[in-house]
Symmetry: C2
Subunit: 278 residues, 2 copies
């Protein structure tokens, strides 16, 4: 079975390997068999063009109002590319990322803004893993909403007519890429209910902030100048000396991941170091 | 600005609203301006056809070997639709979901198999939120690898030539949709290192198991017979009486989500109920 069409490199696109003409015709929902069997290949990475992070920040905010966090961040980037570039971006339905709302259908796992922005990154860059990693590492350390986001709201420079809140909202640093932790931390720190208009508005601003930073990274990547600028905390780096993906179970290599340890594990546990550490 | 093309309903597709001819031509990486400005619209939901869950189970396993968990589960479903239906699925590069590997670039947040399968669900069904919810609710309660997955490995019925392990691996119930918790729990319960071939092979089998169940749900959905079959645990339902998305901060509505509380919060805390509950 030829799986070539499931992932083409930029080289394959440039040299024409794999067939580069794709067409689409729909009668009812039937797909003409001649087209279906022609072996059309998806282009990957799709041809990114530089976007304006400040424009994308506004689009991510509006995107949240239209379809919540994950779809919102994805639409800010991929919707912009659909308008600026057209095909092949126009073949991607924005709703492919609609499921990611509130950490997947309300489960509050991965922040939807991160999920949507990462999908856009993966669509346009072979460097997706390093860029997605930097996006998450920045996110866990950044205060949300950003000052830029608050200024846009106060000055009514976002693209929505009716604001859930046009106040400068207080900020919290998520500490975690998980929706549940980010939302709970902010709500408890500032006394807002999780079903409040302010919490929802903060998530709209986060959708814009995350999409904007993703575009900053993609713009750097396009110039060949992408570098990771954010590092894990000392706690995570300390724990991960032993508790990481590795081959030695007895040495503590029975876990993996980069999330902040103390967000879930008891502080007393994560502070145990040295000869007394179990 | 017309955002219509970012999300078409099935009705719009059927009635022809929005323009249904999409074409693609690449010279170098330039996109012909006539095509780019023609306003081609992505089709959503894309026209799902029923797939064989047992075939998809094997493809998800092979997909993990080709590009890890998230891309693997996504490719098992969308790659199948590319071969069976052709366009418009052939316009979707499978690598759009490559970032999701190991809970996004190794962060171990959302299980990549879930993320990839949910994107496929969101691509083909207006019922994506309920189906994704059921997929996660099933996942947290299901033993992985499944008996079917273990049988395929032992009998060498998967599609790969060289197995990371062809043993019947011991199973654990994840309890959580998070990669970190699922992997750590299994490794500690059964004494495997997180960098072991067996851990990796389990994730390959999970990629197949998750894609297969997603297809079972999509097949039911296509017949108009989808129903949610898995319910939250008593613990989650109990805590969420107060600790849920809501408008009353004082009553405990300062959080949200559906993950198992005791996986991160101290057992003593989550068992506090009745008049003594703080």
């Amino acid at each position: 079975m030829n799986e070539q069409h499931e992932g083409l490199t930029r080289r394959q696109v440039l040299t024409g390997v794999g067939g580069l003409a794709a067409g689409l015709a729909i009668g009812g929902l039937g797909v003409p068999s001649a087209m279906a069997s022609a072996g059309q290949d998806a282009i990957w990475p799709m041809p990114y063009v530089k976007l304006d992070p400040e424009e994308v920040r506004k689009l991510g905010h509006r995107g949240y109002y239209e379809g919540e966090c994950c779809r919102g961040a994805f639409s800010a980037i991929v919707g912009s590319l659909q308008r600026k570039v057209g095909a092949p971006f126009t073949g991607i339905p924005i709703n492919i990322m609609a499921y990611g709302t509130a950490g997947v259908a309300g489960w509050c796992t991965l922040c939807g803004a991160l999920n949507g922005a990462c999908a856009a990154i993966s669509l346009v860059s072979e460097n997706y893993k390093a860029i997605a990693n930097e996006l998450l590492q920045w996110y866990v350390q950044a205060p949300f909403p950003s000052e830029k986001a608050n200024a846009l709201a106060v000055n009514h420079q976002y693209l929505v007519d009716k604001y859930k809140s046009d106040k400068a909202l207080p900020s919290s640093v998520p500490g975690s890429p998980l929706c549940h932790i980010n939302v709970s931390r902010w709500c408890k720190e500032h006394g807002y209910a999780s079903g409040s208009s302010e919490r929802s508005e903060r998530c709209a601003r986060i959708s814009g902030d995350v999409a904007a930073y993703a575009v900053e990274l993609l713009n750097m990547d396009m110039d060949g100048k992408f570098t990771a600028m954010h590092k894990p905390s000392a706690e995570v780096e300390g724990c991960r000396v032993c508790h990481r993906k590795g081959k030695d179970f007895e040495a503590g290599n029975w876990t993996r991941g980069k999330m902040e340890c103390g967000d879930c594990h008891d502080e007393a546990t994560v502070k145990l170091v040295g000869p007394d550490h179990p």
